[in-house]
């Protein structure tokens, strides 16, 4: 297996007024192609910050971030946006669907960043919604869907443009046990059957069990717990 993502000696600080808080200093992490990593850790330990660095939505102060053999920490904003559109799918705790769009349109959103034809887009949207089992709700607005259904639409949105890499920030944090397990099962399926590399932040040890391995983050340092 080859490394999909590699963090080398990454430093990240936040400035709050005059104070600066160091979140990571000399962080190293390698995630193989096809891995499913759960990241756990106490609140404030830097899990979301890590996801932001991995997804190119925030910048490190120093160190290297490699994706598929390419350094992305040197990308400018536009390059990062393009890279995210091609390579990363995002799943949030609160789904973050567009309320004015129906399920199919929400899923189609990332395809607006591609040059696919209308017909191809429709086909992709259909495939993605079918994977998450919501094709019959394609015309529903987020308001008309349950939390679990909304998260499924969000997963469909994340995979519709077929990125290699999925980032999930507490994807089941807002859902009940059964629904959570459904969602996690879907993620696992995406990992196993479609080879998606997944990094998932979670508080929930049950959820972590769906991953191939779990990393514990505490005070900016990893302790690996392999299953």
């Amino acid at each position: 297996m080859s490394a999909l993502i590699q963090l080398k000696n990454v430093k990240k600080t936040y400035k709050r007024g005059k104070e600066s808080i160091t979140i990571f200093d000399g962080l190293n992490l390698t995630i193989e192609q096809g891995d499913f990593v759960a990241i756990m850790g106490p609140s404030g330990s830097g899990k979301t910050t890590l996801l932001n660095l991995l997804g190119g939505t925030d910048r490190s102060d120093s160190g290297e971030i490699n994706f598929d053999g390419e350094r992305i920490d040197g990308y400018n904003e536009g390059q990062l946006a393009g890279w995210r559109a091609r390579s990363v799918g995002f799943i949030f705790q609160f789904y973050n669907l567009m309320p004015v769009l129906n399920a199919a349109q929400n899923v189609e959103l990332p395809l607006m960043l591609t040059k696919l034809s209308a017909g191809k887009r429709r086909a992709n949207v259909e495939t993605a919604l079918k994977i998450v089992g919501l094709w019959d709700r394609a015309k529903h607005r987020p308001k008309e869907l349950s939390g679990g259904q909304q998260q499924r639409v969000a997963i469909a949105r994340a995979i519709v443009s077929d990125p290699k890499f999925l980032l999930c920030d507490e994807p089941t944090g807002d859902l009940d046990r059964n629904t959570a397990n459904d969602i996690l099962g879907t993620l696992q399926q995406l990992n196993q059957e479609m080879g998606k590399t997944i990094v998932m932040v979670t508080h929930d040890p049950e959820a972590a069990r769906f991953a191939k391995r779990t990393l514990h983050l505490d005070k900016g340092v990893f302790a690996e717990v392999t299953q």
């Binding site: 939505t57 890279w83 995210r84 559109a85 309320p99």
Partner: protein, 389 residues
């Protein structure tokens, strides 16, 4: 789905809010469309029927003061003058002085029709009849329609200035023809009749003419000819002032008041008001959407693209209001053109220039009102946006 679909859907996220904003914008463009068109029509009215090689000679004291009839031939003899005619304002009205006044001039038919053949179009038969009938009058189509006049009919035309030796203040005139304008839209609310018929019967101001129209060999000679005419009558009891037709009618229209100024003030006030309303509402509408914008950026929408969408939404909103407002004002103007008051302005309908400048205004309004939310969307960092609300 295209960017436009997305912009459109966002625009109608809160339909009531969008409708209310559209109403605001609609009202401002209604005001713009109507007032600007009125202004343009007035400007055009002052130019309609004015040719670049025609001058108007009037008494220097004021154009309501007359000049001796002898001036006509003396003006005609001045080098550079190719044709002259003359006219007297009659203060014409039909039956009721308060409600049915119109433009009426006593003219010399032959020279008048030679110069104004395009502005007052007649058939050859009508022209011939007017030349030969001493009591003949030609009436504009609008007036003929308004009063139901027919060719051959004899009508009493009264003057609020002159009276006849027998005490009557109305003259019986026989309609020789009904004229139309050069363009179908030109105002045709005037009558012209024989100077001689009036001159022989009035009690005072006999053998005086009101204004003299001069045709010059070419517009470049206008200044020179005008100076020569005025020099010719310098130091006489009736000195003259000679200007081109356009200047003459402009000055006359400006007397009522500075419509330009009023229109500018009112339109600016209306736009200042909607600018405030729309931009503050858009700022607060965009603030509600901060998180969504963060999500779009996370998905890989570039900041410039997000900026374009936000600006596009504002421009779409203002264009929507503008198109409705301009359309409605065009409709109202068409109706107004048909009313008795409106018809004297001639063509009131919205000119392409007004429509286009309205649309340009709409786009700039959109850009200005969208600027603040668009810039904040551009600058917003993803983490900040996602952390909010």
């Amino acid at each position: 789905m295209t960017d436009f679909d997305l912009v459109w859907k966002n625009l109608f996220r809160k339909p009531l809010r969008t409708i209310l904003l559209t109403v605001s914008i609609f009202m401002a463009f209604l005001i713009f469309g109507i007032l600007t068109s009125l202004n343009v029509a007035l400007d055009r009215a002052s130019e309609s029927g004015s040719a670049s090689n025609r001058l108007v000679v009037s008494n220097k004291i004021n154009f309501t003061q007359s000049m001796p009839y002898a001036y006509v031939n003396r003006v005609a003899a001045i080098p550079g003058v190719t044709a002259v005619t003359y006219q007297n304002w009659f203060g014409a009205y039909y039956q009721d002085q308060r409600t049915s006044r119109f433009v009426g001039f006593a003219v010399d038919p032959e020279t008048y029709m030679a110069i104004f053949r395009d502005e007052a179009r007649l058939t050859d038969a009508e022209r011939q009849a007017f030349l030969t009938e001493r009591t003949g009058v030609i009436v504009g189509k609008s007036l003929a329609d308004r009063y139901g006049w027919k060719v051959g009919q004899t009508i009493p035309i009264s003057s609020n200035i002159y009276s006849q030796a027998n005490g009557r203040r109305s003259w019986d005139m026989k309609i020789s023809g009904i004229f139309t304008g050069a363009k179908p839209t030109d105002p045709t609310t005037a009558i012209y009749f024989h100077y001689d018929y009036m001159n022989e019967t009035i009690t005072f101001e006999r053998d005086q003419v009101g204004t003299i129209t001069v045709v010059t060999a070419s517009p470049d000679q206008n200044d020179q000819v005008a100076k020569a005419i005025d020099a010719n009558f310098a130091n006489s009891p009736a000195e003259t002032s000679t200007v081109d037709e356009k200047t003459f009618s402009r000055a006359f229209l400006k007397q009522a008041g500075d419509l330009n100024f009023i229109v500018t003030m009112v339109v600016s006030a209306a736009f200042a008001a909607i600018l405030m309303i729309v931009s503050t509402t858009l700022v607060s509408a965009m603030r509600e959407r901060t998180k969504e914008i963060g999500v779009m950026k996370t998905l890989g929408f570039s900041s410039p693209r997000v900026l374009r969408m936000v600006l596009g939404e504002a421009v779409l909103l203002s264009s929507l209001g503008a198109v409705l407002g301009l359309g409605t004002s065009a409709f109202i103007l068409t109706g107004l053109s048909k009313s008795p008051v409106g018809s004297s302005f001639g063509d009131l309908s919205m000119s392409p220039v007004v429509a286009l400048s309205g649309l340009a205004l709409a786009v700039s309004l959109g850009l200005v009102t969208g600027a603040i939310p668009a810039l904040s969307a551009l600058r917003m960092s993803i983490i900040e946006a996602l952390n909010r609300g």
